[in-house]
Amino acid sequence: MTSNTAAMAGGGATEKIALLKVLGPVHVWALGVGIVLVGEFMGWNFSVAKGGAYGSLIACWVIGLLYTCVAMIDSEVTSTVAAAGGQYTQAKHIIGPLMAFNVGLYLVMAYTMLEAANALVVGDLLTAVANQYGHAGLDPKPFVVLTIAFLAWLNYRGVFMTLTLNFVITAFAVTAIAVLFFCVAPIGGPGLLKHGALLTELPYGWIGVLAALQFGMWYYLGIEGTCQAAEEVRSAGRAIPLGTMGGMLTLLIAATCTWYISSGLLPWEYLGQATTPLYDAARLVGRPELQVLLFIGTLFAAVASANGCINDASRAWFSMGRDRYMPAWFGAVHPRYRTPYRSIMFLMPIAIAFAFTGLLDQVITFSILSGLLGYTFMSFNITKFRRQWPLGSIVRGYEHPFHPLPSIVLFVLCSATYFATYLGYGTSLLSIMAFYILASVWFVYRRYPFVHRGDQFTMPWPRPRGY
């Protein structure tokens, strides 16, 4: 728990307000898995449309390898950088201010877009339920706004309550997948799965498998968000690696189970375009209670993801405001709730505006590409980190093995995924690149003059090797 206390109202500025160090590894797990798990309930299955069921499985494991590298690299660097900005703060210390600005923007855009997409999913789910009960044409907009407003209010009121709730609903969603698995898998009996009849050859060959990589990211996109909790955990050196790597393990198992269940019940032609593949799989089992369980699991997964995204996007924006990369006004901490309340409120209408466009696939694509840019940065970041601060020069809570192999693998797989994305969303890819280039120009000429350059390096590290 931080030793700082809120200053008296209108009093002198001798005491400081800071974020509260109240979180443990379980909260970090809940944050990471909570953001990601909605991808198991929907979205991953578009990889089946590109590469068939086997192509989707290959994408699941290849992208799983990409994200395992991300988790290992992030765990090492964040265990030494106990600050709210996560990868933004890492970039600031290891690469430089322009990279840091871009990474901060990647984080804010990726999580805000994902939050908007999750709110859209909640609205669509409720519309589908209303349709089923005879009310056609339910407007999803009020439910989209309510989802974002409620979760923003929760985040405003405190991080411990926010992530404890996230743990509960995420655990429920994980359990829903596990229950479905045990209901259909051939354990102690023949089971219900028909892999022999449903699995086919690669419908579009190996180019289809390559194209499937883009949607394989839905299984794991967002696990790197655990780093945003670094300033609010009781021990960053312990909680971040434990929560992140534990979360990655959970996701690898959940992703494989999801593929196994869905590909054994649904033909690939249907699976490749289904909106809610796990829910559809549960409907095929023919047990109403299972159907209800998966519906609630899908809803909880979307809410948990939006909740984690609000948490992470606001911390990244807050960190940039605190460093004056964005207006310093955003760097305020609530004196009672100890949350970055101005950043939380500022990003709320932005997320709602994106959600109101209704363009779920474009919003998701922007989020995926922003995330991909961040992962590419990580491969350079860890290489420079190890070179300038070798093992033994600073205390690391976790040291990832086989360096530089994970950073090389990460870079190669990111490159392959860029190509895969270009195959399907070339215009979006180029538009996003143009956006970040323009934003960088704005930063260099209009914001960097306000940055206190001497305050940028805050970590208690020795001089880097070679300086």
Partner: protein, 46 residues
């Protein structure tokens, strides 16, 4: 008014109340504490 129409209005109302409560609280905090205090958090400090 059927159940779902009522739910739509309820969602708008609750959203407005939640957003309104945050705005009112933020305004109260802004008037009670100076920006020197609210912006006093520093990266890397306990």
């Amino acid at each position: 008014m059927d159940f779902w129409t009522f739910m739509e209005y309820a969602a708008w109302t609750i959203s407005a109340l939640l957003v309104g409560s945050m705005l009112i609280d933020a305004r109260r905090i802004g008037r009670t504490y100076s920006d020197d205090v609210l912006l006093s958090s520093r990266e890397g400090e306990e």
